[in-house]
Every structure is written in C-alpha cells, then in structure tokens.
Amino acid sequence: MFDYLFIPNILYSSKGEYSTRRTFTSLETVVFYVFAALALAGALMVISFKNPVSSALSLVLTLFSTAVLFVLLLAHFVAVIQILVYAGAIMILFLFTVMFLNLKPESLKFESKHLGFKVSALLVILLFVGYFASLGFKKGLFLSNTSVSEMEGFGTVQGVGTTLFIDYLLPFELTSILILVAIIGVVIIAKKRAN
C-alpha cells in the first residue's frame, strides 16, 4: 500500500568526498523499528518502576505503540479498538484502582536474594525465544510478507463485521455472556460486607 519513498542517503566516503546514493528505504521499515523500540522500552519500564502509576503509564505507551504496529499490519479497526478499549478503558481502570487504593511507591529492592538468577533467567528465556523463532524461519513455518490475495475490505470495519457476524456469531454471543458474568462477579466481590 505504501509506495517506496525516495529518501536520499548521504554517505561519506573515507576519502572525504561525499556522494549521493539512492537507496530505497521504505517508510514501513522505519515506522516499524521506531514503534517496536517504543513498545519494548515501555514494557521494560512497566516491570522496572517502583511507582505503580509510572508502570501504568508505561503500559499505556506500550499499548499505543502496539496500536501503531497494528495499523502497519493493515488492521485499522483493531488498532482503533485497542486504543479505545485497552489503552482507554482498561488502563483507566488500573489507574483508578491505584489512585483509589492510595498505593505508595514500593521499595523496589529486589527483596528476593536471587536477582542474578532472575536476570539470567530472563536472558536465557530470551535466548530460547530467539532460537525458536530462527528455527521457524528455517523450517519455513512463517510466510514472507509477499503480496497475499487480500479479501475485500481487509482490516476495515466492513471486513471485521462480515467475519464476526457470519463466521463467528456464536463466540460473539458467548463473549457477551462472559462480560455479563464478569460484571455480576465484580459487583458481588467488591461489595462491602455488612460486618
């Protein structure tokens, strides 16, 4: 969908003279890397901050970045939904609860003695993830992003609506029941007992 933009790359040769080389960098790549970095940064901040409010706001950042990535993937409707519902309603709920409970920033000394273990565990897990991913590339598990025959209205409201209400009507209805149950549950749980 996006055309290649012509962005000049200035390269400095070792001789001191400069030449202009035309390389093709797609806008898509740039946007991807920027917002991926933002998402990662946000995630790392979520798990690092002492203050719950800061953590919540970092999570909002991550969700926003993910929404942009959704747009890159031609999932416009879903991106907007993510911002509205996830970043909007759910995170507001988190912040509300934090404020309501008046939570203080906690002392973040990693009270557990095994900080080193945890860091190394994280690294190992990341390593495994990378390993699997690369395995997947080699085995051809994933498809390259070549032009795929897209259905009519891919990613638009019309497309989502068609799939949702024709192919997945039953799960849709069940989801509404789920929400109802959750509402009832929440009301019962959070009600003040008369004691």
């Binding site: 897990i125 495994f128 699997f132 395995l135």
Partner: protein, 653 residues
C-alpha cells in the same frame, strides 16, 4: 432308582441340620426337650431305615438275576465333562456293594436307635444325628460309586464326618485335637490314593470301573503295561487304605478317635469307615491279583499291624482303647486275607467283625453309661449282676471275636488262616496264629476285669449303676444274635460236606461276580489238612482263654507280679510302644518349626515389604507436599519453567 439309597440320609441330614441350626426345633417344641429329641431322632433314624429297606429290596432284586448279571447301574448326571476325561455321577449296585450297603445301613440303623438313648442328655442332640446321617450318606456314595473319583468323594466325606464326630464335644481341647489328628493322618493316606487314581487314568484312560477293570483283565491290553506300573497302582491305593483303615504306620489316629461318643466309635471306627479300605482293595482285585510284589507288601504290613496292635491291647486299661486296638488288629486280619487274594474271606471277616465289634463297642457304651462315664476297667468288676443284659451280650461278642467254634468270628477267622496257609504264606500264618492267642487273651481279660470277680467300683458310683434303657439294649441283643448266627452264611465247603451239604459258602459264591481276577493258587505245603488248621485256630483261642481265666479270675494277683517282672516291656506296651512320641519327634516338631519360620517370614518380610511400600509412598508424599507453599510466585515460576520445557520438547522433536 438306587440313588434313593443315598438320598434318604442326605435329606435327613439337611432337615436335621438346617432346622437344628436355625433353632426351629426349639421354637416348635417350646422348650420341651423330649419332643425335640423325638423329632430329630425320628427323622434321622427313619432316613437310615428307609435306606436299609431300599438296599434290602435291591439286594433281593439282585438275587433274582443270574450271577454274571448281578449289577444295577444308574447314571444321574455328568459331573466333570472335560474332553477326554469325563466323569459322571454314576451308582452301581452289584454284589460287593450290596454287601457293604446292607452292613452300613442296617448296622447304622441299629446304632441310630442306640444313640437315642445314649445321647439323651446331650445338648447338641440334633447336630449329632445330622453328622451321623452325613456320614451314612458319604459312606454309601463310597460303596455305591461306579468310578474312582466318586469313591474318593465318599472317601473324603467320611473322613470329614469322622472328624466332626470325633471332635463332637469340642469344648474339650483334647477331643478336638483327636479329631484333627484323625483327619490329618487320613489325609496322608488320601494323598497316596489320589496318586493311584491319577496313575490309573494315565494307564487306562478312564476312571470308570467297567472301563478300567475291563481293560485290566484283557491280556492283550495288559501285555503293553509294564508290571511295575500295576505294582505301583496297587501300592498307591494301598497307601490310601493304610490311612483310612488304620494299618501300620498310619493307625495312630484310631485309638485317639475314642474321644468321640461311643456309638460313633461303633459305627465309624469299627463297622464301616475303617472297612472302606478293605472294600476298595476288594473292588480293585484285578490290580492286586496281577502283582505278587504288592501282595507280599500288603500281607506283611497287615500281619505286622495285627500283632503289634494285639501286643498293645493286652495292657490297656481303658475299655474303648482295648477295643480300638482290637479293631486295628482285626483290620490287619482283613487285609491279610485281601493281600493273599482271598477277597471273599476278607470281606466275610469284614461283615462278621462289623457284627461283633459294633456289639462290643455298644456294650462298652452301655457299661460307661452305667458307670457314670467311668472308662477305666481297674475301677470295675463284678458288674454282671448289676447289668446282666449288657454282660451277656458283651460275653457273646467277646467269644465271637476270640473265635469260639460255631460263632460267626470262628468261620471268618478260620477262613483267613486257611487262606494264608494254603497260599504259602507260612510265616504270616504263624504270626496270625499268635495274634489269635493274644486276641482271645485280651478280650477275655477285658470281660473278666469288667464283669467278674470282686467289685472295685468306687462307692460314689456304685449306687448309680443301672441297666441301660431299651433303646440301648435292644440293638445289643440284635447284634448278639447276628454275632452268633451271622457266620453261617459263609461256612467253608469242607465243613458243610460233613453234614452232606454242598457249596455251603454262600457268601463266597455271592461275592464272586465282583471278584474278576483271583489268583487262588494253592501252593501251600499241605502238611496240615483243613481240619488240622481248624484245630490250630481253636487251640490258639482256647489257649488264650485259659490264660486269661488263670490270670484274671483264679489268680488276680498274678498279672501284677508278671508286670513287675517284665517292667520295661510292660511299660512300653502300655505306652503303645511310644509310636506317637516317635512321630512327634520325627515329623511334628520339625514341621511346626517350619511353620513358625514361615509365619515369621510372612510377618517380617512380606508384611515388611508391604508396609515398606506404604511408608515409601508416605515419605514421598511428605516430600512433595513441600512444593505446595501457597506462595503464588513460586507457582508462577514453576508454571513458566514447565511451559518453556514443553515448548522446547515439542519444537525439538
């Protein structure tokens, strides 16, 4: 319909047993013991009487047939259908089994009548009659069965009934142990018997009498069978007979079996069960007649048993023990006859022995009843005036067993002695002759010490000495008559010829169709003719009687002096030659040691293993429990690690 012969006692037993066990009688009679007893005894005795009448009826029917065809067979149902090995519940009433059936049922009936009086005071009256009927049922199956497994069923069944009845008063431990001893020693014999049956099936391919005996007398078939096998079969079956019929070395249970009620001793351990071995061997005559080795073994053991038992009997002081050893001795006689091939003689002695031994036992029961349960003859004496009927019948029985001429015992014993001599078993004949002397000696001793002479009865008992009621004396009288006149069915030929009768040995003629093979080879020395042999046996009996009279009537102090002179011998004889103690030392103690070891093994090792498994599991559970801390974080950690592990495994494989 010969099955009804065995069904009547069974029905009687079931009715008595169920109704006794359920307390039905008590409710019906509302505590009136007399009517309770009446109903029980009526059912039981009536059942046996019906059997007896039926047996007689079929006996008469047999007589109307030609001798070779004297057989009534009735098949009821197929018991074991197993391919080649088919056993059916089949009954056969032929001459041999008819004799046994008549003896069992009629003498059984008399003993039932006697028991009504004898067991009058007993609490478990109906139980006693149930057991008696069970015994008659199984004994009849034993003699009427047409194949070996069925005989074995009866064999085991009478062993069971014997156990139940010996240990009838089981509250007394000693009596219960006596029952147990009888059953266990019997079992040893049964083992040999079973092996014999297996061998028979292996060789002949069937266990049916007709099939097996038919093949066994067929020379063509038998030429392919090695002689050793027939000997083996004969010996194995004889082992069973040694157990059941109390020969050496398995006779030790019979004297202990006197712990049971006296009518039981009369029926089971005198007249019927112990004779099952003799019946079995007479039935299998084809095997014994073809194997001289087995015959020698049988006769030798029988002779040894006879004289051994007689030497013990002369020093015993308990009436019933004397009679018990006498039974062992007389059984030896029967087996001697069967061992040499004179089957008819052995069976004839079986019949006459049933008469006078039952008489003697019932008489002793009457004495014991009169003496308020005292059984030691040293405390008796001079009872003839107090209990005359018992005394006279007892005397008749004594003289019969001693072999007084013209009483039944004379004819049967004489025939056995003659058979031994005629077939060349001279040594055994001498042993048997000595035993005749001893028999007369100890039996007359018993009579004299009990009924004659000065009374040694303790004062406390003396005034209660009374004659027994009619229910007990009438069977005594009937048996006495039989003991006197019963012998005339088997008068040997040479005697009958004197008064001009031919073929007087009715018994032998009657039995002969069942005796399929009889090696009646007269290879004796013929140094002495028939009459000389008769003279020898009469002389022996007379010698015994005279010695007895001398020792116990005319000079009562003499036995004491003699006993002092030969004290070790006397003590050994009185203690049964210490055979029981020997068995205990050789067999019982090592075995109980083994059992203790096994029990300890079971406790320590097997239980230990089971408990060990349980405790291992418990410890594992305790260890695993530590993982359930309730700390969410560790749960989450473990879940993450687990999920990663699964992913790794899936992707790598």
């Amino acid at each position: 319909m010969i099955v009804w012969i065995i069904l009547f006692p069974l029905i009687g037993a079931v009715i008595n047993g169920l109704l006794f066990a359920s307390g039905f009688w008590k409710k019906v009679c509302r505590g009136d013991e007399h009517s309770e007893h009446s109903i029980s005894s009526l059912i039981a005795s009536g059942a046996v009487l019906l059997s007896a009448i039926l047996s007689t009826f079929y006996f008469v029917q047999l007589l109307s047939l030609d001798p070779p065809q004297r057989q009534i067979i009735q098949e009821l149902f197929v018991w074991i259908p197993s391919g080649d090995f088919t056993v059916s519940f089949e009954l056969m009433f032929d001459t041999l089994s008819s004799v046994m059936a008549l003896v069992i049922t009629w003498i059984g009936f008399l003993i039932h009548i006697y028991s009504i009086g004898y067991m009058h005071h007993d609490k478990a009256f109906a139980k006693y009659f149930t057991y008696l009927n069970i015994f008659v049922f199984f004994m009849l199956i034993l003699v009427l069965g047409n194949n070996f497994p069925l005989m074995f069923v009866g064999w085991e069944g009478v062993g069971l009934a014997s156990f139940l009845l010996i240990g009838f008063w089981y509250e007394d431990n000693e009596k219960a142990y006596a029952g147990r001893k009888a059953f266990i020693v019997n079992r040893i014999g049964d083992f040999g018997f079973l092996l014999g049956i297996f061998l028979i099936f292996f060789i002949f391919g069937s266990v049916n009498y007709q099939d097996v005996f038919g093949k066994a007398i067929d020379p063509a078939f038998m030429s392919a069978v090695p002689g050793v096998t027939i000997t083996a079969i004969g010996l194995l079956l004889f082992v069973g007979a040694v157990g059941k019929s109390a020969q050496f070395p398995l006779y030790v249970w019979l004297p202990d079996a006197m712990a049971g009620p006296t009518p039981v001793s009369a029926l089971i351990h005198a007249a019927t069960m112990v004779t099952a071995g003799a019946y079995m061997m007479a039935r299998c005559n084809v095997f014994y007649s073809q194997s001289p080795t087995t015959q020698m073994v049988v006769v030798s053991i029988a002779a040894f048993t006879a004289i051994l038992a007689a030497t013990i009997a002369i020093t015993q002081n308990d009436i019933k023990k004397v009679l018990a050893y006498s039974t062992v001795s007389q059984l030896g006689y029967m087996f001697m006859a069967i061992g040499v091939g004179a089957y008819a003689a052995g069976l004839f002695h079986l019949v006459t022995h049933a008469f006078f031994k039952a008489l003697l036992f019932l008489g002793s029961g009457s004495i014991i009843h009169a003496m308020s349960d005292e059984q030691d003859i040293r405390k008796m004496g001079g009872l003839r005036k107090s209990i005359p009927i018992t005394a006279i019948t007892f005397l008749i029985g004594t003289l019969a067993i001693a072999g007084l001429p013209f009483l039944s015992g004379f004819f049967s014993k004489d025939e056995i002695l003659a058979a031994l001599y005629d077939r060349g078993y001279t040594i055994h004949w001498i042993v048997a002759l000595i035993t005749v002397v001893l028999t007369a000696l100890y039996m007359l001793r018993l009579y004299l010490l009990t009924f004659e002479g000065k009374s040694r009865v303790p004062e406390s008992i003396k005034r209660y000495v009374h004659e027994s009621p009619y229910s007990m004396t009438i069977p005594l009288i009937v048996l006495a008559v039989l003991s006197i006149f019963g012998g005339y069915i088997g008068v040997p030929d040479f005697m009958g010829r004197i008064i001009g009768l031919h073929d007087t040995n009715l018994f032998e003629h009657y039995i002969s169709p069942a005796i399929l093979l009889d090696n009646a080879k007269e290879v004796g020395h013929h140094l002495f003719g028939h009459w000389a042999l008769v003279g020898f046996s009469i002389g022996g009996a007379a010698l015994g009687i005279i010695i007895a009279f001398y020792l116990y009537y005319f000079k009562p102090s003499a036995p004491g002096e003699i006993a002092n002179e030969i004290e070790p011998l006397y003590k050994a004889s009185n203690n049964k030659w210490y055979v029981d103690e020997l068995y205990d030392y050789i067999f019982v103690q090592p075995f109980s040691y083994l059992c203790t070891m096994a029990a300890r093994f079971d406790q320590k090792i097997i239980d230990g293993a089971v408990n060990g498994v349980a405790s291992v599991l418990k410890d594992t559970a305790y260890t695993l429990q530590t993982a359930q801390t309730g700390v969410i974080r560790s749960y989450a950690t473990l879940m993450a690690i687990g999920a990663a592990a699964i992913l790794i495994i899936i992707v790598l494989w």
